[in-house]
Amino acid sequence: MKAEAKEHSVIAYHRHKPGSQPNRVYESYRSTVTRNPSKPLIFLPHTLSEITGPIYGHDPVTETDSDLTRQHAGEPVGERIIVTGRVLDDNGRPVPNTLIEIWQANAAGRYLHQRDQHPAPLDPNFSGAGRAITDENGNYRFVTIKPGAYPWFNHYNAWRPAHIHFSVFGRAFLSRLITQMYFPGDPLFAFDPIYQSIPDEKARQRMIAKFDLETTKPQWALGYRFDIVLRGPEATPFET
């Protein structure tokens, strides 16, 4: 194959601000110590390889994909909630048509996963996985139940605050984000090394959803808003 050596320039994306992302090695979260590099990362000026990403070809999403309370014959046990928000880039522009995938424990704090050893009941009416695609304004919406807190083995009497795992693609391979959404006021934040791994407190708080009375549906479900911000380009990319 002949190489194409045409001059072209690439619009770089913003870099993360110091302290706004987790420390890769965070000793109180034990398994980070053996699973992250000891040598510094090599700074890579952005090329086409980093600023492109899988934005096309996601499988279509159905209505029950985003309503985790309607994936089985009966309703799951737990506090029904609505989680909605927008996906934006760091220029404040909506990220449309991007895939969001979520997974979570049930109301008792148990995952439908063979490696989950927590002796809490499984719920035959709850799988705990969902998908949605943002609309043209970057909006998404899930209906689910509030997950329970659960214990883990990181340290003595370790408990994870209730959370929903979020996976978002965005426009570029470098904007790909996997994070966790937390609930306001959780007393476990102070003791959770995963939540605490982000040095900047303001940045950390971006992972906490806001209770929202507007989203709350009378006689039916509490509503939470969770906006997600992805890295964006330093200049407006070409629309094609």
Binding site: M1, A3, E4, K6, E7, H8, S9, V10, H16, S20, Q21, P22, S31, T32, T34, R35, N36, P37, S38, I42, F43, L44, T47, L48, S49, E50, T52, G53, P54, I55, G57, D59, L88, D90, G92, E101, W103, H113, R115, D116, G128, A129, H165, S167, F173, L174, R176, L177, I178, T179, Q180, I194, Y195, S197, A203, R206, M207, V229, P237, F238
Partner: protein, 192 residues
Amino acid sequence: MSTEHIPTPSQTSGPFLHLGLTDKRSVVRIAGPEVTGERLRLKCRVLDADAVPLNDAMIEIWQANAEGKYNHPDDPRGTGADAGFRGFGRAATDENGACEFETIKPGPVAGPGNSVQAPHLNAAVFGRGILLQLHTRIYFAGDPLNESDPVLALVSPERRETLIARPDPAQVNTWGFEIRLRGERETVFFDI
């Protein structure tokens, strides 16, 4: 970038990522038989600081087609012949820390200025203990463009080999790539 729009922090995918990402939605076949290009099987392994395989990690791959073009509107060269080729794969590692992809070798990709990037796959590693995904690249041993690749040139010669997949002597068209997260022969990871 205003202060109100600082990106949401990353968190670990945790040990149960399969539930949301790979039980039903893994993409092991990046390129099916209909896609033009040199077909290959890529066998990856992920190991920790003590060379213990990770049985709960996930690798995502992003790659160009055989013409070196990405299926994305920001690639100014268009998608070329294989408009249906997506270029995305993801797989969870098994008990041996291993996963496999079926794909084609990408073509050379335009680099900064007039440079050309050697054929490579972009890879990200997620998993328990990984709070922010680790980015690396997978190049192909013996490709003559490796010598002039602008990204490999950023890496000291003794560490460059950690970015290069090797042909499997036992199986044709099969390549092996080990990701060592820390310690001896630690893989090069990029700040992208």
